[in-house]
């Protein structure tokens, strides 16, 4: 079991070495980059948006119900919702959700190319298939994913504001004051950095599992499931490591 883990890590590193070679032609790379940005990031906007609005609303209700203390100013509810969104929800939770959507997309796409010999065909033409297929995905996911963090944060706060206005659970001006209070710009950077790291893990590990898929369509399904399980665990592990390193 331990030997298997080390063999997998070694193979993953060699795979990354193939991926991070200079592209054959930059023009082809940028074209693929734009395609992948559309497929992986833009197509996730709706999912991220809907979840963020609802979670923002839920956070307001949960925080308000736990802070029913006359001594504590109501604006702290807005403040705590914002901090929860920035520090954990917009990066880690969204990444866990994306590991399912993005991870299964990448893994099954590359896996089915592997079992239908399309990757072999590329290799036999002299094309570095790992570089051509995976680098644009990893680059698009890693570079553009912070935009999803910012979008999620904005829509999460909007979701909270809608609930505050609809239920009057706290006075709306207090909520607005709270989400503007004690702003720390570093937290935004921290959250964006985490998201980039998580999306790097999601895209590269899913691609790795798809690239080495075997055993027909069942194998593609297995590689997809494996990719999601591994990335979910690694996201939580790296969340702990990065938080310890950057915030403490």
């Amino acid at each position: 079991m331990i030997k298997k883990i080390f063999v997998s890590i070694g193979t993953y590193m060699l795979f990354l070495k193939m991926v991070f070679r200079k592209p054959e032609k930059w023009k082809i790379f940028w074209r693929q980059f734009i395609n992948e940005a559309d497929k992986l990031i833009l197509s996730s906007i709706l999912l991220v948006g809907v979840i963020s609005v609802f979670i923002g609303g839920v956070l307001v209700i949960q925080t308000a119900s736990n802070l029913e203390n006359p001594i504590i100013d109501k604006m702290y509810i807005g403040y705590m919702v914002r901090e929860s969104l920035i520090l954990e929800f917009c990066s880690t939770m969204i990444a866990l959700i994306l590991s399912g959507k993005m991870g299964s997309n990448i893994s099954s796409e590359i896996g089915s190319m592997r079992i239908t010999e399309q990757i072999d065909a590329m290799d036999m033409m002299g094309v570095n298939s790992a570089n051509f297929l995976v680098l644009p995905k990893v680059a698009a996911a890693t570079i553009l994913s912070p935009l999803l963090v910012l979008l999620s944060l904005a829509l999460g706060l909007v979701g909270g504001w809608i609930v505050v206005n609809a239920t009057q659970i706290i006075p709306p001006p207090s909520y607005i004051t709270g989400i503007k209070a004690f702003y720390n710009g570093f937290y935004i950077f921290y959250s964006c950095f985490k998201m980039s790291l998580f999306c790097f893990l999601i895209s590269s590990i899913s691609a790795f599992n798809g690239y080495y898929a075997k055993g027909g369509s069942l194998g593609v399904g297995r590689s997809s499931t494996k990719a999601i399980v591994i990335t979910s665990i690694l996201i939580l592990m790296f969340d702990l490591i990065v938080t310890q390193l950057m915030l403490y």
Partner: protein
Amino acid sequence: MIKVEHLYKSFDGKQVLNDINVEYEAGKCNMIIGASGSGKTVLLKNLIGLMEPDSGEIFYGDKCLTGMSYVQKKALRQNIGILFQGSALFDFATVIENVMFPMEFFTDWSKAQRIERAKYCLEKVNVIGSDDKYPNELSGGMQKRVGIARAIALNPSYLFCDEPNSGLDPYTSILIDRLISDLTKEFNMTTVVNTHDMNSILEIGDKIGFISGGTLLWQGDRHTILDTDCKELKDFVCANTLARNIIEGRK
């Protein structure tokens, strides 16, 4: 010309290729034949470099494949066209984009030149008017043709075909066989076809090597195969009704 010398390959202690010595000539349809599991696909994969042999040498002209660096292999591969068993057309690309794919990577041709060349290759394989279709919109025979068009896009010196007739009806099979044979002669390519289809063998086999149990048991051509004394090959040949009838008719 491709020359194979003392090629051995095993998996988990099981010998799959055993001292293979063979020469594939330019301008000819060289065939690797044998029953399923005989080792012919492993031999083909060794020939194209998708597998490393345990020992032995494979020469492309005077260059040895087994000792080549990554860059040298990459250069050689641009001179090799391959038709995979399932065609292996790229799902994300249309017919014409599939044919243009290797040109995009390895030539500095303008888009107009690439389109012109792709259309020429598609015409050669008789696929006309399907440029903008995706592979899943084509029949099996059409996919094979597009696969051949893509394989010859860069005008390669070597063409490898892995079971080009699998899954095709007899009529389309013969058309594909003749296409491979005609292109081989027209472009003077060294073509290696991996098959167990007797019709193909009798139709286009200029040079035939029969593999059984990982050993090359017999070499000859389509004119001599029916007169073989090799028992294993005789059993293989007579499993085909047409070949059996010819042999019995001769008797």
